[in-house]
Each structure stands twice: as structure tokens, then as C-alpha cells.
């Protein structure tokens, strides 16, 4: 591995993370089906469908749910091309690779013998692989839809509505906020290292340097947390963070909620074996 490849790969991950946030904001601002619903309905509804995906045993039901997800995506102004690039192709690739051995490893009746009889593809193996791929594709599509159409703030508020403890929600919010700061800082540290180092270092040195960068980031993190703590105190934080509550359900939210739950329920009913 060339001396800079690891650093470059790290930088790619960091910038990707930062970029994700911006994409989400753009889609969330569109006026589409999902965006129009109360965030709590979105969370419950999409989660119910994901649950239905995991509970159904029939691949036909799962595929139906996938099609429903695609329709919802279109109605919510989410580009199918971006879904394909972001979800469908990567999941197909990864899950496909993982599921491939199952074709021959799953016991059952052989249907194909591509390697001349010693490792036959079984019917059960085929079904298992397809089932797994279908499940993962549909589930990830649904959760991605939720994430794309819901700004982080609303996700947090929805969680509060589900009685996730206040402290936890505050920590989720703060962590999210500081991920970007730390990712930026880390990115800057790696960039400067990349531009400053010449020559090839051996593995041990590179490890030490990376650990050092991580260490500096750690120190900064702890220092940051101390400063933030003082800052919170300065504005009156005494131990329990108080926030505004704001959601109100309208008729379309109830309709949406019912629609999701019915769809999920039907899927589970039909899909049970």
C-alpha cells in the first residue's frame, strides 16, 4: 500500500460523511409525499414497513413492498437514479457477494451443477440468497427514504415523542453536531500530513503517525467537551435540558399513519408461511 493511500482513503471517508449531510438537507426541503407527513408518522410508518419486510416469509410480498417503496420515493421527489447509486447497486453488490456462497452451501435439492457435480446449487440456496437480497434491498431503501426526507432535527423530535429519554436525545443532537467539527479537523490534519510528508515510511512509523493524529483529535475532543460544558452552564443548564415540543397531528397525518400500518399489516398477513 502506497504511503498516501491510507490517508487518501481516510480523507475520502471524511468528506463523504460531510457531503451526506448536505444531500439530506436538499431532499428534505422538497415538497413531496413523505415530507408532508408528521415526522412521527414517517418514523412509525417506515419502521412498520421495515418490520413487515423482516416478518414476511414470501419473496413476492417483499418485492411488493419494494415496489411500494419506489412509488413513495417518486411521490416524495426522491430521484430513483440517486437511490440506485446510493442504495440499490451497493447493497446488491455487497449482499450479493455475501449471499453467493449460500447458493452451494445450503443443503437441499440440487438444481444446477456448474462445477460438475461437486458443489451443486440447490433450490433452497437460490431461494435463500434471493430472499436475503430482497429483504436487505427493501429494508435499506425504506430507511434511506426516511433519512433523506427527514431533517435530523425532526428525527430527534420524533424520538422524543416516543419517550426516548431527554438526555439521550440531547446527546444524539450534540454528537451529530460535533461529528462535523471533528471530521473537518481530522480532515485538515490528514491533508496537512499528506502535503508535508515526503518519502516512504515503514509500517510502524505510519501506524505511529496515525495513532498520533487520533491522539490529537482525542485531546481536542475532550477539551471541546469541557468547553461546551462550561458554555452550557453559562446559559443556565442545570442538569436537565429543556426543549420546545412542537408536533401536532393533522388529518393527513392520521391517514398516512393508517395507510402505513395497514400496508404493513397486510404484508405480514399475506407473507406468513
Amino acid at each position: 500500500m502506497s504511503r498516501n493511500r491510507a490517508i487518501a482513503a481516510t480523507l475520502v471517508s471524511l468528506t463523504r460523511a460531510l457531503g451526506r449531510a448536505l444531500i439530506s438537507e436538499r431532499v428534505a426541503r422538497q415538497r413531496g409525499l413523505l415530507q408532508a407527513l408528521d415526522p412521527r408518522v414517517r418514523v412509525i410508518g417506515l419502521f412498520a414497513l421495515v418490520l413487515a419486510v423482516t416478518l414476511s416469509d414470501r419473496i413476492s410480498v417483499i418485492v411488493a413492498l419494494f415496489c411500494a417503496a419506489v412509488v413513495v420515493a417518486l411521490l416524495s421527489k426522491v430521484s430513483l437514479a440517486s437511490l440506485a447509486a446510493r442504495v440499490w447497486l451497493p447493497v446488491l453488490f455487497f449482499t450479493g457477494v455475501i449471499a453467493l456462497p449460500a447458493l452451494v452451501l445450503t443443503p437441499g435439492e440440487p438444481i444446477l451443477a456448474p462445477t460438475g457435480g461437486s458443489f451443486p446449487v440447490t433450490a433452497q440456496g437460490m431461494s435463500a440468497a434471493l430472499l436475503l437480497i430482497a429483504r436487505v434491498e427493501t429494508a435499506v431503501t425504506l430507511t434511506t427514504l426516511l433519512i433523506l426526507c427527514t431533517p435530523w432535527m425532526q428525527v430527534l423530535q420524533a424520538l422524543r415523542a416516543f419517550h426516548v429519554p431527554q438526555d439521550v436525545v440531547v446527546m444524539l443532537a450534540m454528537t451529530h453536531r460535533y461529528i462535523f467539527l471533528l471530521a473537518e479537523t481530522a480532515g485538515q490534519m490528514f491533508e496537512s500530513r499528506q502535503s508535508r510528508t515526503v518519502g516512504v515510511f515503514d509500517g510502524a512509523t505510519r501506524r505511529r503517525m496515525t495513532a498520533r493524529t487520533a491522539g490529537v483529535l482525542l485531546s481536542k475532543s475532550v477539551e471541546l467537551s469541557n468547553e461546551v460544558f462550561l458554555s452550557m452552564q453559562s446559559r443556565g443548564f442545570r442538569g436537565d435540558v429543556r426543549v420546545l415540543s412542537s408536533f401536532r397531528m393533522r388529518s393527513r397525518d392520521y391517514i398516512g399513519l393508517v395507510a402505513f400500518l395497514v400496508a404493513g399489516g397486510v404484508a405480514v398477513w399475506i407473507g406468513r408461511s
Binding site: 460523511a17 423482516t54 455475501i98 445450503t106 443443503p107 433452497q124 433519512i147 446527546m171
Partner: protein, 360 residues
């Protein structure tokens, strides 16, 4: 090691959510008891740090690269309760905001990595470091070992969770409904990648960070050192009054969860022995452990997988596997439960030795 949606059955997910919830509850209670207000920003920023650390590409001995979780250093600096919360939060944000990792499997991922990972890392660190000076080399060894053991413990749990799926959840014609690989395949597949790569990465980072802190800010290592605190401990959250009750509850849950999951599934004895005689070498690799839908991470995983795919497959199916796959599984769960129990006992012993002499 992050398990996506679709690989685990709903009942497995539910059982692991229950286990995770217990861990979260215990962690929160613990935090409230100590300097709660200060911990909120500390845990948050540590969670953010862990998240960013997960993106670092670490060059490892042998020319590969790996990723660390950060659970070890979190346990060493924050203590197990803080680490449980911090890593869980990092995992939750990965799933809920960045879309990496499943939502039905959030409980499972947190249970494996955040809860069991933190507890095992902490226990190993404390046991191996036992009383050494904060700046001693023994602590580096302890941290490295803790990272290695914790990562593999978490991976083992994940492997077990994968591996029991086909046993418990198949339809009438024998089609596995979720993860399709039995224990005999799942465990070696997962463990190879973690024993060789991910565990090493975590161990190296943990030791490296402890070394850094020994020089730059030893006070951060104080609270989990087991040593009597000096003047520098003033501002750190203290680990007094361990809540043994909830630790015991976790351990018990670990011991009982396998039974709970089993009763939810169908009878397992029907699994035929012939299934294990097929190739063991083709293994689902730890590409699953890096399961991000993004090309930059793919090549390493793919290379590993393709090299194994083409290698000669050993006809490996020891007799013991055929009849004791359940034993594997049980022993895994019990093993982790035992580690927890051990750490509890260790804590009790250390508490007893130190007496009630903790100031503040």
C-alpha cells in the same frame, strides 16, 4: 461488524433490543449517579470522536488496512457505562443519519459492539493492567489486548447471531429465511477477518491512544486505572459505587438470551448432519463487518473474498461440529456472560482491597 436489516429474524432482533435496552438503562442510571451534567457533553463528543475514528484507515502489519471502533479507548477514558452510551450513540447516528447499519438490527449492533464490547474491553484492561502505574508499558499491553479481545468478542457474538438464523428460522422446505450460513460457516467467516485485521486495528489504536495520553494528558487515564486518585483526578467523573445489580442483570441476560431465542424458533434437532459436509472454506468474509454501501471501502473486502474464493477448499467438517453447533453457540453466550461475572468479581475484590477510602 455492523449488521444490516434483513440478516436477523424479528425475534432475534427483539431479544437483542431487550438486551441492549438493559445495557442502555444501566448505563444511563450509572451516569446519573456520577457527575451527570458533565458527562453529557463528554459522552457526546466522545461518540463523535469514535464515529470519526471509524473512518480512519489504519495501516496494519502485513500490508492490510483496517478500521477501529474506538470502543476500547472509550471504555478506558469514560469507563464502561460512558462507553456503552457513547458507542451506542455513534452506532445510532450511523444508522439514523448516515444510513449505514440497520434499524431493526440497531439493538443487536449496540449489544455486540457497544455493550459487550465495552464491558469486555474494560474487564480485560483492568485485569491486565491491575495496579500498574498510569504511565507504565503494561497499560499499553493491557489496552492493546483489551482492544483485540473486545473486537473479537463482539464479532463472535455477531457470528453467533448470524449462525443461529438458519437453525431456527427456515421454512417448511428448508430455505433459511434470514442469514443463510450456519454456525460452522458463520463463525470462522467472521472470526478470520476480525482475528487477523479488525481486532489488530482496534488493539493498535487503543494502545497508541493510551501511549499518547500517557504523555499528553495522563489525568484522562486516572478514573479507570484502579489506582488511588491524585490531585489531577479532581475534575474527572469517578467510578465509585458500582451498580452491581445491573451488571449482574446483564450477565444473566447474556446467559439466558440463548434459551429465550431458541424457544422462539422451531426445533433445531432436525438439521441434518450432511449439511456440514459441504465446503467450509467458502466463507462469508468480514466484508460484512464493513458493510457500507460505498465503493471506496469495497476493494479490500472484495480482494480478500476473491482470494479465498479461488483458494482450494478444505473438506473440513470435524465431527464435533455436526452435533455441537448448539454447544458453540451456547458456549459463546455463556463465555461472555462469564467475562462479565468475572469483571464484577474483580471489581468487588478491588473495592474491598481499597476499602472505602475514595475521597470526594
Amino acid at each position: 461488524m455492523h449488521i444490516p436489516d434483513g440478516y436477523l429474524s424479528p425475534s432475534t432482533c427483539a431479544a437483542l433490543y431487550a438486551g441492549a435496552a438493559l445495557g442502555w438503562y444501566g448505563g444511563l442510571q450509572r451516569i446519573k449517579r456520577t457527575l451527570a451534567t458533565r458527562m453529557i457533553p463528554l459522552i457526546s463528543v466522545f461518540a463523535a470522536f469514535s464515529f470519526v475514528l471509524m473512518m480512519f484507515n489504519l495501516p496494519l502489519p502485513g500490508g492490510t488496512t483496517g478500521h477501529a471502533l474506538g470502543v476500547t479507548i472509550a471504555s478506558i477514558v469514560l469507563g464502561p457505562a460512558g462507553s456503552i452510551l457513547a458507542i451506542s450513540i455513534a452506532i445510532a447516528i450511523q444508522a439514523l443519519f448516515f444510513g449505514d447499519g440497520g434499524i431493526t438490527t440497531l439493538g443487536a449492533n449496540c449489544f455486540n459492539m457497544a455493550i459487550v464490547g465495552s464491558l469486555v474491553a474494560y474487564a480485560t484492561y483492568r485485569i491486565v493492567a491491575a495496579g500498574a502505574e498510569i504511565t507504565s508499558r503494561r497499560r499499553l499491553l493491557a489496552a492493546g489486548l483489551a482492544g483485540y479481545v473486545a473486537t473479537n468478542a463482539a464479532a463472535f457474538l455477531a457470528a453467533v447471531e448470524f449462525g443461529i438464523q438458519p437453525m431456527l428460522f427456515r421454512d417448511a422446505s428448508g430455505v433459511p429465511q434470514y442469514a443463510p450460513y450456519a454456525l460452522g460457516v458463520a463463525i470462522p467467516a467472521m472470526m478470520i477477518g476480525h482475528l487477523a485485521i479488525a481486532g489488530v486495528a482496534e488493539g493498535i489504536i487503543a494502545a497508541g491512544l493510551v501511549a499518547y495520553l500517557q504523555a499528553a494528558d495522563p489525568a484522562l487515564l486516572q478514573s479507570t486505572s484502579g489506582l488511588a486518585p491524585g490531585a489531577t483526578a479532581a475534575c474527572q467523573p469517578s467510578m465509585r459505587h458500582p451498580q452491581r445489580r445491573w451488571w449482574i442483570a446483564i450477565a444473566l441476560l447474556l446467559l439466558l438470551t440463548p434459551l429465550g431465542v431458541l424457544t422462539a424458533g422451531t426445533a433445531w434437532g432436525e438439521w441434518s448432519a450432511s449439511s456440514f459436509s459441504s465446503a467450509e472454506g467458502r466463507a462469508r468474509i468480514a466484508a460484512a463487518s464493513q458493510n457500507r454501501p460505498a465503493p471506496p471501502v469495497a476493494p479490500t473486502g472484495l480482494q480478500r473474498l476473491s482470494s479465498l474464493w479461488t483458494s482450494p477448499v478444505p473438506a473440513y467438517a470435524p465431527p464435533v461440529l455436526k452435533s455441537t453447533s448448539f454447544g458453540y453457540f451456547l458456549s459463546g453466550m455463556f463465555g461472555v456472560g462469564l467475562v462479565i461475572m468475572l469483571s464484577l468479581a474483580l471489581q468487588a475484590y478491588l473495592q474491598h482491597r481499597r476499602g472505602a477510602g475514595q475521597p470526594g
